[in-house]
C-alpha cells in the first residue's frame, strides 16, 4: 500500500508530449505576438482573458475540493483528489499574473490617465499592490489547503519514497506521526481551511473581476458582476474536472472503475444544476439592466449583445441584422454552450451517465467559458464601433488559439507534474 503511494507514476508519454508541444506553441505565439509592434496589445489582451479563465478555474478546482469537504458530500471518492491535483496550477497562474503586470500599458487605460471619479481606486500602484496581495493570499491559502489535504497520504508514503521525494515528503510531513488522532485533526483542520478557501476565492476573485474586467470599461458598474465571475471559475472547474475524470476513467494509473455510473450521474447533476445557477446569475444581471435601461449600464451589455438589448423602439424588429453585429454571435454561443446544451441535454438521467454525452457537454461548457472570458474582456478594449470600422476581431485567430493552447498545455503539464510529484495523491489501487 505505502509502496504504491510513493511509486512514481509513469508519465503518459503521448499526452505529455502533446501538452508540452501545446505549451511551447503558446509560448511561441505569445512572444511572436508581443514582439511584433502591431499585435502587442492584442497579445496581452488574449493573455489576459486566458489568464482570467485558467487562474479562476484552478482556484475553482481547489474550491470544488473544499466544497466536497464542507458539505460532507461522501460520494466523490478519488474525484476530490483529482480536483486538488488540478488546483496545483494556482502556483503557476500566480507566476503568469506578472505577465499582465508587464502588459499593463497595453491593457489598462487607467495606467495612462486617471478615471474621472475613480482616481483613488485606479491609482496604478495601489491597484497592482492590492491585486498582488490578493493573489498572494489566495494562492497561499489554496496551497496550504492542498498541503493539509496531502499530509496524511504523504505521511503514509514517506517511508517508501526514495530520492528527492523522500526529502520532500519528509519536509512536507514534518511532525506527522501517523496516528489516528492526527488524521481526525487533519480532517477537522482541512474543513476549516476549506471554509477559508471558499471565502478567499469569493473575495479575491471578486476583486480580480473588478480590477481586471470592470476596469476595462470603467464607467460600467454592476454589483452582481464580481460574484458572477467568481462563480464562473467554480463552474468551469467542475466541467473540466468532469472531462479529466472521464479521460482518466480507464487509465491504469487510477483506481480502476472509480468513475461509476452513480458518480457520473452526480457530476452530471453538478454541471446541470450549476449551469442553471450560472444562467440565473447571468439573467439577474442582464434583466435588471435591460429593464431600467440606464445608458451608464446598458453600454457594457450592448457592446456584447448588440443593440437588440436596447428598448430603442416600440416594436421588436430587425433581429437578424442585430445578431450580425460584432460579438453578438459569440455571446449567443456562450449561452448555448454554458447553459442551453447542458440544461436540455442533461435533463434526463441517462445522458448524465453516458460518458460520451457527458464528456461532450463538459467540453462544450469549458469552451463556452473560454469564449465567455473572451467576451468579457475584448469588447471593452476593442469596442464594436472599431470592429465596424474594420478592426479585425476573432477568437479564432492564431494568437488567440496559440495562447489558448499554451494555457491548456501548461495546465495539464501542471496536472501531470502534480501526479508525478505526489503519486499517492490519486489512489491507484482499489481502496
Amino acid at each position: 500500500m505505502s509502496n504504491d503511494l510513493a511509486e512514481p507514476r509513469s508519465l503518459p508519454r503521448v499526452p505529455a508530449a502533446i501538452f508540452a508541444a501545446l505549451a511551447a506553441l503558446g509560448a511561441i505565439a505569445f512572444f511572436a505576438g508581443v514582439l511584433a509592434e502591431d499585435t502587442s496589445a492584442r497579445t496581452y489582451r488574449v493573455f489576459l482573458h486566458n489568464w482570467l479563465m485558467w487562474a479562476a478555474l484552478a482556484n475553482g478546482a481547489v474550491c470544488v475540493s473544499a466544497a466536497f469537504r464542507l458539505t460532507n458530500a461522501g460520494w466523490q471518492g478519488p474525484i476530490q483528489r483529482i480536483a486538488e491535483s488540478m488546483g496545483g496550477f494556482v502556483a503557476i497562474s500566480f507566476l503568469l499574473y506578472w505577465v499582465i503586470y508587464l502588459g499593463r500599458h497595453e491593457l489598462f487605460e487607467w495606467v495612462h490617465h486617471p478615471v474621472a471619479g475613480k482616481e483613488f481606486w485606479f491609482e496604478p500602484g495601489f491597484t497592482f499592490l492590492r491585486d498582488s496581495l490578493a493573489l498572494v493570499w489566495v494562492t497561499f491559502v489554496s496551497l496550504f489547503y492542498l498541503y493539509i489535504s496531502l499530509r496524511p497520504t504523504l505521511g503514509a508514503a514517506r517511508e517508501a519514497a526514495t530520492g528527492w521525494r523522500k526529502s520532500l515528503y519528509g519536509f512536507w510531513t514534518a511532525g506527522w506521526r501517523g496516528e489516528e488522532v492526527e488524521r481526525d485533526f487533519a480532517e477537522r483542520r482541512g474543513r476549516k481551511m476549506a471554509a477559508v478557501v471558499a471565502l478567499s476565492h469569493a473575495i479575491c476573485y471578486s476583486l480580480i473581476a473588478i480590477d481586471f474586467i470592470m476596469s476595462l470599461a470603467p464607467e460600467w458598474i454592476s454589483t452582481m458582476f464580481p460574484a458572477y465571475f467568481a462563480w464562473g471559475g467554480f463552474l468551469s472547474s467542475i466541467s473540466l474536472l468532469t472531462i479529466v475524470c472521464l479521460a482518466l476513467r480507464n487509465s491504469p494509473e487510477v483506481v480502476p472503475g472509480f468513475l461509476t455510473a452513480n458518480r457520473r450521474h452526480d457530476l452530471g447533476k453538478l454541471i446541470f444544476a450549476f449551469s442553471i445557477f450560472w444562467m440565473y446569475l447571468f439573467w439577474s444581471q442582464y434583466f435588471v439592466i435591460w429593464y431600467a435601461n440606464i445608458p451608464e449600464e446598458t453600454g457594457f451589455i450592448v457592446a456584447r449583445l448588440g443593440t437588440q438589448f436596447l428598448q430603442d423602439t416600440w416594436y421588436m424588429g430587425g433581429f437578424m441584422q442585430r445578431i450580425a453585429e460584432p460579438y453578438v454571435t459569440w455571446t449567443l454561443l456562450v449561452w448555448l454552450l454554458v447553459w442551453v446544451l447542458p440544461f436540455w441535454v442533461l435533463l434526463g438521467q441517462r445522458p448524465k451517465k453516458t460518458p460520451a454525452i457527458l464528456g461532450t457537454i463538459a467540453v462544450g461548457s469549458v469552451l463556452g467559458f473560454w469564449l465567455e472570458r473572451y467576451i468579457l474582456v475584448t469588447p471593452s478594449l476593442v469596442p464594436p464601433s472599431e470592429v465596424l470600422a474594420g478592426a479585425a476581431i476573432t477568437p479564432l485567430g492564431w494568437i488567440e488559439l496559440g495562447i489558448g493552447a499554451g494555457f491548456v498545455g501548461l495546465f495539464f503539464l501542471s496536472f501531470l507534474g502534480f501526479g508525478r510529484v505526489f503519486p499517492g495523491a490519486i489512489p491507484r489501487a482499489g481502496g
Binding site: G117, I221, A227, F287, V288
Partner: protein
C-alpha cells in the same frame, strides 16, 4: 448518518406515539395562546378596515416615501416562507437526510407565512377593493394588465408559490394524516378520514407519491429561487438609487433563506421543549441549520459590502449619496441594527459549540429575525426618502395603524401554526420512519 450521536426512538411504532401525542387535547396555556393571537389578529383586521374607510392618510406614508411598513413586512414574510421549501425541496434533492425531522414544521411555516405575505400587497393597495384589476380577466373595458410590471410578476410568483407550497405540504401530509386517522379517536378521526382520501400506503400509492415529491421538489427548487428574485426585482428594476442594483436577486434569496431558517429555529426550539421531541429534533439539526445560517449570513454580508463598495466605486453622486444617507442619515439606527444583527451576531456560530447550544441559537435566531426585518426597512425607507430630486427629500415614520398590522401579521402566523400543531403531525412521521429503517439496515 455519521452525526447521529443521540439515540433514535425505540421503534417505528413509538414514532407514531411520540409525534401524534402532540395532537392530544390542549393545555390551558395553549388555548390562551390561541386566543391571544386571535385577539391580535382581530386588532389588525380592525386597523385595516379603519384604513380602508378613511384612506391612506391614517398611515405614515407621505410624498417621497410611498412604500412603508407594509412592503417591508411583505418582503419579510415572503423571505420567511423560503425556509420550508429550502429544507424540504432543495435538501431533498441534495439527499441531506437531516432535513427529515425539520421539514414538516418548516413547510407549515412556509405555507402560513406565504399566506400572510400574500395579504400585504392587498393591505397596501390604495384601493384594496379594486384588487381584481390586477388579474388578467376579460372585461367590458377590453383592457388587460401590464405584464411588464414587477408587481404583476409578484402576483404570479407569490400565487404560484402559495399554490405549490400548499400542494407540497398537503402531499407530504397525506400519509401522516393516514397514520393519524388510524390512531386518533376523537372527532378529528372523521376529518382525517376525509383528508386522507383513502390513503393506505399501498405500493402503488407510494410509487406515485415518491415520484410526485421528487418532481415537486424539482419544481419548487427553481421556484424558491425565482420567488424572492421576483420580489427583489420589485426594487432592482426601478431606477431608484439604492434599489437598482444587479446583485439584488441572489442577495434577496440568500437573505430569505437566512431569515427563514432563523424563524424555523425560533419556532421549533419551543415546540421541541414543549412537546418533548428531543429525540427527533436533535443537535444535528440545529448544527446544520446553524451552518446554513453561517453561509447565508456570509452571502448577505458580502452583498452589503459589495453594495457599499460599488456605490462608492461608481463615482455616481446619486448612488454615493444614497448609501451615505443609508449609513449616516436619518435611518442610521436601522442600518446599523441590520448590520449588527445579520453579520455580527451570527459570527459565534462558526464554533460548533455555539451551534448546538440551543439557548444561544434561539437568541441568535431572534436577532436575525429582527435584523432581516430591518434590512427590508432600510432598503425601502432610506432609498425612497433620499432619491434624485433634492427638493423632494423626506422622512417617514410608521403610524399606529401600520404597527398594529405588523404585530397582527406575526400573531396571524403564530395563530395558524398553533392550530396546525394540534391538528396535524408536526414532524413527518413517514420520513422519520424511512430514515429509521435505513439506519437499522
Amino acid at each position: 448518518m455519521a452525526a447521529a450521536t443521540e439515540p433514535l426512538p425505540a421503534s417505528p411504532d413509538a414514532i407514531n406515539d411520540d409525534i401524534l401525542r402532540v395532537l392530544e387535547p390542549p393545555s390551558k396555556t395553549y388555548v390562551l395562546g390561541v386566543l391571544f393571537c386571535g385577539a391580535l389578529v382581530a386588532c389588525g383586521v380592525s386597523a385595516f378596515l379603519y384604513q380602508v374607510y378613511w384612506g391612506f392618510g391614517v398611515t405614515g406614508l407621505n410624498h417621497p416615501v410611498m412604500w412603508g411598513l407594509y412592503i417591508t413586512t411583505f418582503v419579510f414574510w415572503v423571505g420567511i416562507a423560503h425556509a420550508g421549501t429550502l429544507i424540504s425541496a432543495i435538501l431533498f434533492l441534495f439527499r441531506a437526510k437531516w432535513r427529515n425531522a425539520v421539514n414538516r414544521g418548516a413547510e407549515a411555516l412556509t405555507v402560513f407565512s406565504v399566506l400572510t405575505a400574500a395579504l400585504f400587497p392587498l393591505l397596501h393597495l390604495g384601493r384594496a377593493w379594486k384588487f381584481y384589476f390586477i388579474l388578467p380577466y376579460p372585461n367590458q373595458r377590453g383592457l388587460w394588465v401590464n405584464f411588464k410590471s414587477p408587481l404583476l410578476w409578484d402576483v404570479f410568483a407569490i400565487g404560484t408559490y402559495t399554490i405549490i407550497s400548499i400542494l407540497f405540504f398537503i402531499v407530504g401530509l397525506i400519509p401522516d394524516i393516514g397514520a393519524a386517522r388510524d390512531r386518533v379517536r376523537d372527532w378529528r378521526r372523521h376529518l382525517y378520514r376525509v383528508l386522507a382520501m383513502g390513503w393506505r400506503g399501498t405500493s402503488e400509492q407510494w410509487r406515485a407519491h415518491s415520484r410526485s415529491v421528487l418532481h415537486l421538489s424539482g419544481l419548487a427548487t427553481p421556484l424558491v429561487l425565482s420567488v424572492h428574485s421576483v420580489v427583489s426585482w420589485d426594487f432592482a428594476t426601478s431606477v431608484v438609487p439604492g434599489w437598482h442594483t444587479t446583485i439584488f436577486a441572489p442577495y434577496f434569496v440568500a437573505g430569505a433563506i437566512f431569515s427563514g431558517i432563523a424563524m424555523v429555529i425560533t419556532i421549533l426550539i419551543p415546540v421541541r421543549q414543549a412537546f418533548g421531541l428531543q429525540a427527533y429534533l436533535r443537535d444535528v439539526h440545529f448544527d446544520n441549520m446553524g451552518k446554513l445560517i453561517l453561509i447565508t449570513s456570509s452571502i448577505v454580508g458580502y452583498a452589503y459590502g459589495m453594495e457599499y463598495f460599488m456605490a462608492w466605486y461608481s463615482a455616481n453622486p446619486y448612488e454615493q449619496m444614497s448609501f451615505w444617507y443609508r449609513g449616516f442619515g436619518h435611518y442610521w439606527w436601522a442600518t446599523w441594527t441590520m448590520i449588527i444583527c445579520n453579520v455580527i451576531v451570527p459570527l459565534p456560530l462558526w464554533f460548533k459549540r455555539m451551534r448546538v447550544n440551543l439557548a444561544f441559537m434561539w437568541i441568535v435566531s431572534i436577532f436575525i429575525n429582527i435584523g432581516m426585518w430591518f434590512e427590508r426597512f432600510v432598503i425601502i425607507m432610506t432609498s425612497l426618502s433620499h432619491e434624485y430630486d433634492p427638493a423632494a427629500w423626506g422622512y417617514y415614520f410608521p403610524s399606529w395603524v401600520e404597527w398594529t398590522i405588523l404585530v397582527a401579521s406575526v400573531a396571524f402566523v403564530l395563530f395558524l401554526f398553533l392550530i396546525f400543531l394540534r391538528m396535524f403531525p408536526v414532524i413527518a412521521i413517514q420520513e422519520v420512519k424511512e430514515l429509521h429503517y435505513e439506519e437499522a439496515h
